[in-house]
């Protein structure tokens, strides 16, 4: 049994003198397909096993990743990690300590209707061909498509010398599409991303069928082709669910990751007002079907709903065990590692703004000129709370009504200033958007929120005069 081998190796680490020993072994079956303009560019299969060994010795972390899962190999890696930690600890003053947790022993299988690795690759290719055909049928100006489909399913075992023994089934299906349109020498593109960590291939049969994805993408390309350039400057605006979600994740969420908070614009702001009353922002690892949802994190901590901003007050931070101890906050279940090659870091899961009390129509009222931003083309945040969000779908707001579509725009601001100038939060339900966060390693996440209105000032629109 793999769990038994991992436990023996963890116990061996303790005999060496390590105060904490953690082994995270993974066995994964994955496939990747890339489809372009009617041809399969690449189709790849892989089975990958590996183990991450992390331990504390002398109050410092030692980390080794390896593909050798034999007992002797595991013990060698534990010994390597111990010697690394020992060597580094000579230069550390205060030992790293971890917040206490209750060790859990549990097996949590992943139940999907159609295991994506059992689906005939021909079926996946047919899906992509259908998507390509559908986009061309919907608009003759569509000229190229790139589809990256990937999926994986496997088991992760987490064992520690404290008694944690978890065997977790995990997997994902994910689709990234870039669609290009051309008209009179003008070239433009739009992207779309969708995925699930709770469903198997049925996700693409039930939710994201080729016609649904194609319609969404073609609509964006049409708007890009018809769009005019935005005006530069600061204007009132209404941000849609995907943009609000990106703002929640990029501009604010990262500041509320405890490892970054101490060096960010949120430093020392716990318990203080950071947004108007009625504004709340959450990171929730327990949402059923959420792309960032998991029962336990990569330290064996149960995931939780973290009310980062509660009624305008900075209320909580996302933590791992190291930063939970350092900040004296509870471990929130946010330690995540991309795979066995990586050290777990504090990462978001499903991040969103709570719904408010405004009707959508009210949010557009009395805006003489502004922008309604709907689609996102990536975003990036900085420690001074400066954010940038690329916008691939937007409209002018003229006298409270939607006007022309706008292309190649981005918005920016200082998130801590912008938050305080929220003028209204919509009451309607919203869908979460799928995304990937890249804090040195990839994590599948989702984000969202209701429509939110900002007055003129806090949000700058990058355009050409």
């Amino acid at each position: 049994m793999l769990i038994d081998k991992l436990q023996k190796a963890a116990d061996y680490g303790e005999t060496l003198g390590a105060t904490y020993v953690e082994l995270r072994a993974e066995a994964l079956n994955r496939s990747n397909t890339q489809y372009e303009d009617g041809r399969v560019r690449s189709i790849s299969q892989r089975i990958e096993d590996g183990v991450a060994i992390r331990l504390l010795a002398g109050g410092t972390w030692g980390f080794v990743s390896s593909s050798d899962l034999s007992l002797n190999g595991l013990k060698d890696s534990v010994k390597d990690a111990y010697s690394l930690a020992n060597s580094a600890s000579k230069a550390r003053k205060d030992p790293i300590k971890l917040a206490e947790i209750k060790p859990i022993q549990e097996s949590v299988p992943l139940k999907v209707s159609r295991n994506p690795t059992d689906v005939d690759p021909k079926e996946k290719i047919a899906y992509m061909a259908k998507l390509w055909e559908e986009t061309q049928r919907l608009d003759s100006r569509i000229s190229a498509i790139t589809i990256r489909q990937r999926d994986g399913i496997g088991t992760k075992c987490l064992v520690t010398n404290e008694g944690t023994q978890l065997e977790l089934g995990f997997g994902h299906v994910h689709l990234w599409v870039w669609l290009t349109g051309k008209e009179n020498g003008k070239i433009t593109g739009a992207r779309d991303e969708s995925g699930s960590t709770a469903k198997g291939w049925e996700y693409y049969e039930d939710n994201q069928t080729p016609d649904v994805v194609a319609e969404r993408l073609v609509d964006r390309v049409k708007k890009q082709l018809a769009g005019s350039k935005p005006k530069p400057g600061s204007f009132p605006c209404v941000l849609g669910p995907k943009v609000v979600g990106t703002l929640a994740h990029e501009a604010l969420g990262h500041l509320a990751e405890a490892d970054l908070t101490l060096q960010s614009a949120f430093a020392g702001k716990m318990g203080q007002e950071v947004a108007p009353k009625g504004v709340s922002m959450i990171d929730d690892g327990t949402i059923k079907g959420g792309l960032g949802t998991s029962k336990y994190d990569d330290e064996g901590v149960p995931t939780t709903r973290v009310e980062l901003i509660k009624d305008g007050i900075l209320n909580a931070l996302m933590t791992d065990r190291e930063y939970a101890y350092k900040t004296q906050l509870p471990p929130s279940g946010n330690a995540r590692a991309e795979d066995y090659r990586y050290v777990p870091l504090i990462r978001m899961r499903n991040t969103f703004f709570e719904r408010g009390d405004a009707f959508d129509d009210e949010l557009f009222e009395n805006i003489d000129f502004g922008y309604y931003c709907l689609g996102v083309a990536g975003g990036q945040a900085q420690m001074n709370a400066s954010f940038q969000v690329g916008i691939q779908e937007a409209f002018e707001i003229v006298n409270g009504e939607l006007g022309n579509s706008v292309t190649n725009m981005s918005i920016s601001g200082i998130a801590t200033e912008a938050l305080l100038k929220i003028e209204g939060v919509g009451k309607d339900t919203f869908n979460f958007g799928a995304g990937r966060c890249g804090k040195g390693q990839e994590a599948l996440i989702s984000d969202g929120g209701p429509l939110i209105r900002f007055g003129a000032g806090p949000i700058t629109f990058g355009g050409k005069a």
């Binding site: 299969q45 892989r46 969000v389 200082i414």
Partner: protein, 457 residues
């Protein structure tokens, strides 16, 4: 160490021998890479890490159907299983009638400065000492600085490639790196995070650069200056310009996008597309540079390719597949993702030759402008149109030839193709910067007539 390289190429050749009868064409790329590093977090040693990144990517062709497979176990039986998985993938695929062949045997390139015997022998304590020294020197410069992260480490590895055309190659490489990410509290909050990284293929780190360049930036960022919306003079540090070129322009010189009619430069070969003082070369053979190697991800020898020469577009970048489709030769720019099997086109070391004057001299002549040393959102640029709308961070205000402080939330918007024509001076401060897995060896560059958008008060 020599055995390691021989063993890897022998493994690659045995894999080809095993699978060659089962398929029309077969290739395998094997890598065995190691890294030892040490990291400082919030001013204290936090972790030491040892990682091995071993993997083999097998690609085969059966009746124009292409399939790939990956394994992270480098033993003969597993590689043979991987060949069979690639065959299964190919059989499930659809024919690509445009497919021709894997690369033929070509004259090998010559490179130097990419291996240092001492690096694989380094003990973790060497890197612990270096990172401790970086932390100490930063704190000595100014105790208010928060060392968000600092790190150092060494890497080394071997690569082997073989295919059914008789190509069998191997290469090896080493390197060391050191970096620091700093912030400092200000009256109103925090400075942006600023960073510097030095990478050298030999054990010869420039810690003065890592410490002083980063500290200088963060101390200047503690002062705040006001920007204004205008079309003005901007100096881009090479690290910021490199990002913009990488995300907003580079796709347009990739051969794939020429063939797929996704590039606005497709019909501009030999046309003047940039200022006459701008030259950009992709040099996979640059001595001791970060991305220098003997061959690319398809076993094609690396080479030197002029992209823009004194403002004129001279060449696009190609891998084997897209070059064959277009009837040209590969420029040795194949980049292979071992795990997904996708073979892309990527630059190696982009070289922009320096000018005569230092950045300080260029600055001293500017009465009003900005120095941009980092960007937020370059990756959200429109890779097809070249349109960008990004935030300069850190963005420093230049007034009467002096840097007066950081401008928060300064946006820059425009088009990368137009930007190329607006170069007015190329600095002499040539240095290597890492950009998206490639390197840019270039200086600061001054542009005029750049749209900047200042945040409202």
């Amino acid at each position: 160490m020599k055995d390691k390289q021989n063993n890897l190429v022998s493994l690659a050749e045995k894999t080809i021998t095993y699978g060659s009868e089962k398929v029309d064409q077969l290739e395998v790329l094997i890598q065995d890479n190691y890294e030892l590093s040490c990291e400082l977090v919030l001013g204290q040693i936090n972790k030491a890490v040892k990682s091995q990144e071993a993997g083999a990517s097998v690609r085969c062709v059966i009746e124009h159907r292409i399939g790939s497979a990956f394994t992270n176990s480098l033993d003969q039986p597993t590689l043979e299983k991987t060949v069979n998985r690639a065959i299964a993938a190919a059989k499930a695929s659809t024919p690509d009638k445009t497919w021709k062949d894997f690369p033929q045997k070509l004259k090998a390139s010559k490179i130097s400065g990419t291996w240092d015997d001492s690096i694989p022998e380094k003990d973790p304590s060497v890197f612990v000492d270096i990172v401790t020294k970086i932390g100490k020197r930063i704190s000595e410069r100014d105790s208010s600085i928060i060392i968000g992260e600092a790190g150092t480490g060494g890497f080394y590895g071997w690569t082997a490639y073989a295919n059914t055309n008789g190509v069998a190659l191997s290469d090896k490489g080493t390197g060391v790196f050191a970096y620091a990410v700093l912030v400092a509290p200000t009256d109103s909050g925090m400075t942006p995070g600023v960073w510097s990284i030095d990478v050298n293929r030999k054990f010869n780190l420039d810690l003065d650069y890592v410490v002083n360049n980063t500290v200088d930036k963060v101390l200047l960022a503690k002062k705040t200056a006001k920007g204004q919306t205008e079309s003005g003079t901007v100096i881009f540090g090479a690290e910021a310009l490199g990002e913009l070129l990488y995300f907003a322009l580079l796709d347009s010189v990739k051969g794939e996008n020429i063939v797929r009619e996704k590039s606005k430069l497709a019909d501009k070969l030999d046309d003047t597309i940039a200022s006459k003082i701008l030259t950009i070369t992709d040099d996979g053979l640059q001595k001791g540079a970060y991305a220098t190697s003997l061959f690319d991800g398809e076993g094609v020898p690396r080479q030197t390719t002029s992209i823009i020469e004194k403002g004129k577009l001279r060449s696009f970048l190609w891998n084997c597949y897209w070059a064959q489709r277009h009837g040209v030769k590969s420029t040795g720019n194949a980049s292979r993702n071992l795990r997904t099997g996708v073979v892309d086109i990527a630059p190696t070391n982009m070289i922009i030759p320096g000018g005569k004057r230092s950045r300080e001299d260029m600055l001293s002549d500017i009465s009003s402008g900005y120095l941009i040393q980092g960007l937020q959102g370059a990756h959200s640029s429109n890779r097809e149109t070249g349109d960008y709308s990004v935030v300069g961070n850190p963005a420093f205000r230049i007034e009467d030839g002096e840097l007066t402080g950081a401008v928060h939330g300064l946006m820059l918007a425009g088009n990368a193709f137009e930007l190329l024509k607006k170069v007015v001076e190329v600095g002499s401060d040539v240095r290597s910067h890492l950009i998206g897995g490639s390197s840019l060896i270039g200086p600061s560059i001054q542009f005029n007539d750049i749209q900047v958008v200042a945040k409202a008060d």
